[in-house]
């Protein structure tokens, strides 16, 4: 990996680790994982219009997050069904609008040359996500207890939910280059799930999740270039390996 690519992928992993912790604790692992699928039709349309795929993906993810947000206001069961239907449909439609090499790269990530657009977008987005989590940490924690309690603490619950989901979507957009539409959700969820098993307090969880995400990204990326394989599957395999190791630790 070049230095640019290394910096960018580490920034992406840090964002993924942090965002994932709250996704796992808020029990939205499934929704979060499936949300990445909506990026595919966006990539297809962007390629057809000959603009950078990242912008098509980001736009679709923005609307996907808006949908999850609107649904979360209602019953949880309806949310799960809708997510199952809408996001799978998006994957199907997206697969039809994209084809060949482009499709494989969109699904699993690819190693092509990084453009300046991507580097600037990636670093800006990663910084935005990290700053958001660090600044809103207390509100996000209080919101875990119950939305009513959060209200009485002066938190605008609806707005914070929406912002969080948009940051989640942005994190997915960040990782599409390396992990693709199918696997980016996993880099957000698996490190956080690992951290949830191992950590005994909040800082421990955040640090562990970031550590696992960065480790998986760097080791996976390195292995991919040595073995001439796609990066995404190797990154996720390393992360999943960490999770399996965490199972060895007896949960208190």
């Amino acid at each position: 990996m070049t230095n640019d690519a290394l910096v960018l992928s580490v920034a992406m992993a840090v964002a993924a680790g942090l965002v994932g912790c709250f996704a796992v604790m808020r029990r939205m692992a499934l929704a979060g994982d499936a949300l990445s699928h909506v990026a595919l039709p966006g990539i297809g349309v962007a390629l057809a219009l000959q603009i950078h795929p990242i912008f098509g993906a980001a736009a679709m993810l923005f609307f996907g997050a808006l949908l999850v947000w609107a649904l979360e206001e209602r019953a949880r069961l309806a949310t799960e069904t809708t997510i199952g239907v809408v996001f799978s449909a998006a994957l199907a439609i997206g697969s039809m609008t994209t084809s060949g090499e482009d499709l494989i790269e969109a699904l699993f990530g690819g190693a092509g040359e990084l453009t300046w657009t991507e580097i600037v977008f990636g670093l800006t987005a990663a910084i935005a996500v990290v700053v958001f989590i660090v600044r809103q940490r207390n509100s996000l924690i209080v919101m875990l207890v119950s939305p009513e309690v959060a209200r009485t603490a002066g938190i605008n619950v609806r707005r914070l939910n929406l912002l969080y989901l948009q940051m989640f979507a942005l994190t997915i957009a960040l990782g599409l280059r390396y992990l693709g539409v199918l696997l980016m959700g996993a880099l957000i969820i698996i490190p956080a799930a690992t951290a949830k098993r191992v950590a005994t307090n909040l800082s421990g969880m955040l640090i562990t999740a970031v550590g696992v995400a960065v480790l998986a990204t760097v080791v996976g990326g390195h292995l991919a270039s040595r073995l001439h394989r796609e990066t995404g599957p190797l990154i996720v395999t390393v992360a999943a390996g960490c999770f399996v190791l965490s199972l060895l630790r007896r949960q208190s």
Binding site: M25, R27, R137, N138, S139, I141, V142, L144, V145, S146, P147, E148, V149, R151, T152, A153, G154, I155, A195, K196, V198, A199, T200, N201, L202, G204, M205, Q251, S252
Partner: protein, 246 residues
């Protein structure tokens, strides 16, 4: 305003179902109001309306400067998260200081320097420091309820809303929690609104009781309001309960 809360003509509907109909009452500052009613009579819904978490018709007016500490019955939280009581209390405390700072231009300690507030609150509710430093999943039911009360108190409230604070706690634990709430109310001049199923608790701790039932709503001191007829009407079965003069 002599009353800390005035509610007039409050109605809440979910779709076609009317949960609360034309409810009017007021709560004097420093008093304690018990909310009593059969299941599904809208007790929790009333609390959610009072804090503005759901849409309603009518008016709910809190006195200026009211800060509410809410202890919900149902939590969104899974107990297996690796977050400690201290993590939660610190987060809540940081929000409270931020709010106080923006309201009064920094007359309170900034966040991070006020672990003293948290430790004092833990002492008040009787949760040992070591327990608060553990992930919340390791706490007993009673300790967890105490932690939730501490969580509400860290926001320096002058009103506490307690939704069945003793549910799922063993009997001696319930007794201690009720005493805790009464002590806090006296020491900190709090107004307390609590939902309860326990008539004995209502008699002992409430200055007023608000009964919610499908047929009618009534309010007043427990001894005048809680007649055998009303209890029969609310719960459908005669309640075998005797009031002992203390």
């Amino acid at each position: 305003m002599e009353h800390i809360l005035e509610v007039s003509h409050l109605s809440v509907r979910f779709g076609k179902a009317t949960i609360l109909r034309d409810l009017s009452f007021h709560v004097p500052r420093g008093s304690s109001l018990a909310i009593l009613g059969p299941n599904a009579s809208g007790k929790t819904v009333l609390f959610r309306a009072l804090i503005g978490a759901i849409p309603f018709a009518g008016t709910v007016q809190w006195a200026p400067g009211t800060r509410i500490g809410y202890v919900p019955q149902k939590l969104d939280l899974e107990r297996d998260v690796p977050i400690t009581g201290m993590d939660f209390l610190r987060a809540r405390d940081a929000l409270a200081s931020r709010r106080a700072q923006s309201a009064r231009r920094g007359s309170r300690l900034p966040a991070g320097e006020s672990d003293t507030t948290i430790l004092r609150t833990l002492g008040l509710v009787g949760v040992p420091r070591e327990a608060a430093a553990q992930p919340i999943g390791t706490l007993s039911g009673g300790q967890f309820q105490r932690l939730l009360i501490a969580f509400a108190l860290v926001g320096a409230p002058n009103v506490l809303l307690l939704d069945e604070p003793t549910a799922g706690v063993d009997e001696p634990g319930q007794e201690r929690l009720n005493e805790l709430v009464r002590r806090l109310q006296q020491e900190q001049a709090l107004t307390v609104l609590f939902i309860s199923h326990e008539l004995s608790v209502v008699y002992r701790y409430a200055s007023n009781v608000l009964c919610l039932s499908r047929e009618r709503v009534c309010m007043g001191p427990p001894r005048t309001v809680l007649t055998p007829d009303l209890l029969l009407e609310m719960y459908g079965t005669p309640m075998d309960y005797h009031v002992h003069d203390q």
